[in-house]
């Protein structure tokens, strides 16, 4: 079963000027997050991550398309009892102490006093704020707000947890704690959907990812699958005693040619061209030193999608081709 489903979600914001067309923040975004998985929602600044999350939580209305949480259409008030949400750079009632703050959200979720006390103690310990229990939130640092916000999202033990950039503003230790926390949530059978632009975090903990650019989902699937697709793309060949300058054949195969002293680095877009290149190197009397399939990461995929998106009208030009 899918805990989050969006179908052709579109959101356009009025430009505020008559005659100026509206700004399209989401453009037919469809994705599905399965029960019990950690799903990373990746995208550069302004891609539409927060907009998507806001639509899911009913804070913003989609211009068209549908979205469902736990099988119910978004906007269904009762379903929200089973959902936890942390917005990006959260800001809360700063006149409340951490304890009162969490208590307030517990009450909104319909918990009784005893349950609230227990959860508050547990969660403040979990996010490392046990000593700040009776401190007012206006005296909290950015990272502490992020942590108490995370506790807020979990106070009612939700089934589905939606987090907008949960690691932003945290120190390396805090970041690791949040990663561990997300993993332990999955171990308890929860579904976690979070947005981020930190690829490393995604690679480490996500079961599946979706990459959104300019309001469109450009890739989605298991991290290893996505990266493997990319894997086939580039191979680095190093050779020496080869005169590449003026060799039109090599230049037509490679995406990049670098001459460094005696050595020459040739980057091929896919392994398919390796045989042809090696043959050519032999013919020219060059000496082959190494053939390395480029170890791709999510980062490469991310950049590749980003450059493709940025240069969509000029997509026939490959970046970095030697001249």
């Amino acid at each position: 079963m899918d805990d989050i489903v969006t179908e052709n979600l579109t959101k356009s914001y009025a430009s505020g000027w008559p005659g100026r067309p509206p700004f399209v923040a989401l453009d037919g975004l469809s994705l599905a997050v399965r029960r019990g998985e950690i799903f990373g929602f990746l995208g550069p600044n302004g891609a539409g991550k927060t907009t998507t999350l806001k639509i899911l939580l009913g804070l913003v209305r989609a211009t068209s398309g549908h979205a469902f949480l736990l099988g119910q259409p978004v906007g269904d008030v009762a379903t929200r009892r089973r959902i936890g949400f942390l917005p990006e750079s959260p800001y809360f009632y700063d006149y409340l102490t951490a304890e009162e703050f969490l208590g307030f959200y517990g009450q909104l979720a319909g918990l009784d006093r005893a349950a609230i006390n227990q959860r508050v103690t547990d969660l403040l310990g979990l996010v490392g704020l046990a000593e700040a229990r009776t401190r007012q939130l206006r005296k909290f640092s950015k990272g502490m707000l992020q942590r108490v916000g995370l506790a807020q999202a979990l106070i009612h033990d939700p089934e589905l947890i939606i987090l907008d950039e949960p690691m932003t503003g945290l120190d390396p230790v805090g970041r690791k704690q949040v990663r561990d926390l997300i993993l332990s949530l999955r171990d308890c059978g929860k579904t976690v959907f979070f947005s981020t632009h930190i690829l490393h975090d995604v690679e480490m903990i996500c079961d599946r990812v979706g990459i959104v650019m300019k309001g469109r989902l450009v890739a989605s699937g298991r991290v290893d699958e996505l990266v493997r697709q990319d894997h086939t793309r580039s191979v680095e060949v190093v050779c020496q005693q080869l005169k590449v300058e003026g060799n039109a054949f090599i230049h037509s195969l490679a995406t990049r040619v670098l001459q460094q002293g005696q050595q020459c680095l040739i980057v091929l877009p896919s392994p398919d061209a390796v045989d042809a290149l090696v043959g050519e190197i032999r013919r020219q009397g060059g000496q082959l030193l190494s053939v390395t399939p480029h170890k791709a990461s999510l980062e490469d995929l991310f950049f590749q999608e980003a450059t493709q998106q940025a240069s969509r009208p000029l997509s026939h030009m490959t970046s970095g081709r030697a001249s």
Binding site: V77, A78, P87, F104, Q107, Q152
Partner: protein, 254 residues
């Protein structure tokens, strides 16, 4: 306690921790005290001046608090984005508005009670007889403040804080003038001006109906039926505005 109650109690708690309120209530006390000084200047109507000034001070400070907090009640939540996590909870937008309103009404009730206590204390210190008409006047001031709060809240669901303040203040002034204006107009000609005044008369709240300060200060007790009817009118007017506020708020993106 339902979600509305939770929101209301928290809104009340928020205002308790807001220093502006204490300053304003302190200021009201000061004004009431000042009335004693002024009363000393006029030997003949000593009692009336103290009662007059006291009621006016309670009314003024109450309206200022109502506008001040009313316009920022919801806007502040949107600007500071505190609303995101609240709207992500199992609570409807209408419940949120109602909870906020009730919380502020509770705050205003407590403030009014404190001001009333200071007022009564001043009266008894200066041996001014305390008449039931004074309680009637304060009760209707409270109803007026509930209406003003609803106006402020209504505007703040679709305009900026500054515009809401201007509109609310404008409607408050018009609400006190329409009855007079209309009386003037009845004798005058009929024209576009008259239609405008008529329109305002029917749209704006008739706040003069809730103003019995003048007669109360001299001890004229209003008919209980009148107080009940005027209160009902005020509460219904506030109810219509709150319904409007909920409807507008329902459509908003955050």
């Amino acid at each position: 306690m339902g979600a509305i109650g939770v929101i209301a109690v928290n809104a009340f708690r928020e205002s308790l921790r807001d220093k502006i309120l204490y300053n304003l209530v302190f200021f009201a006390g000061l004004l009431i005290g000042l009335s004693v000084l002024l009363a000393d200047l006029s030997i003949t109507e000593h009692h009336k001046v103290i009662a007059d000034m006291g009621l006016a001070a309670i009314n003024l400070i109450g309206v200022i608090i109502a506008i001040f907090i009313g316009i920022s009640l919801v806007n502040k939540e949107i600007e500071r984005r505190t609303i995101y996590t609240i709207m992500a909870r199992p609570i409807s937008r209408a419940s949120f508005i109602m909870g906020k309103y009730l919380g502020l009404a509770l705050t205003l009730f407590v403030n009014m009670s404190i001001m009333l206590a200071v007022f009564l204390l001043t009266l008894s210190l200066y041996h001014v007889p305390i008449q039931s008409s004074l309680f009637q006047a304060v009760a209707l001031i409270f109803v007026e403040i509930l209406v003003v709060t609803a106006i402020a809240l209504f505007f703040s669901t679709f305009t900026s804080t500054t515009l809401s303040a201007i509109f609310t203040l404008g409607l408050y002034v018009i609400g006190h003038l329409t009855a007079d204006l209309r009386t003037l107009m009845i004798n005058g000609d009929s024209g576009p001006l008259k239609s405008l005044v008529d329109l305002l008369y029917y749209l704006a709240p008739n706040l003069e109906m809730l103003n019995i300060k003048g007669q109360a200060a001299v001890g004229i007790v209003a008919a209980p039926g009148y107080v009940v009817m005027a209160s009902l009118y005020g509460v219904m007017y506030a109810g219509v505005l709150l319904t409007g506020a909920c409807l507008v708020f329902q459509q908003r993106d955050f």
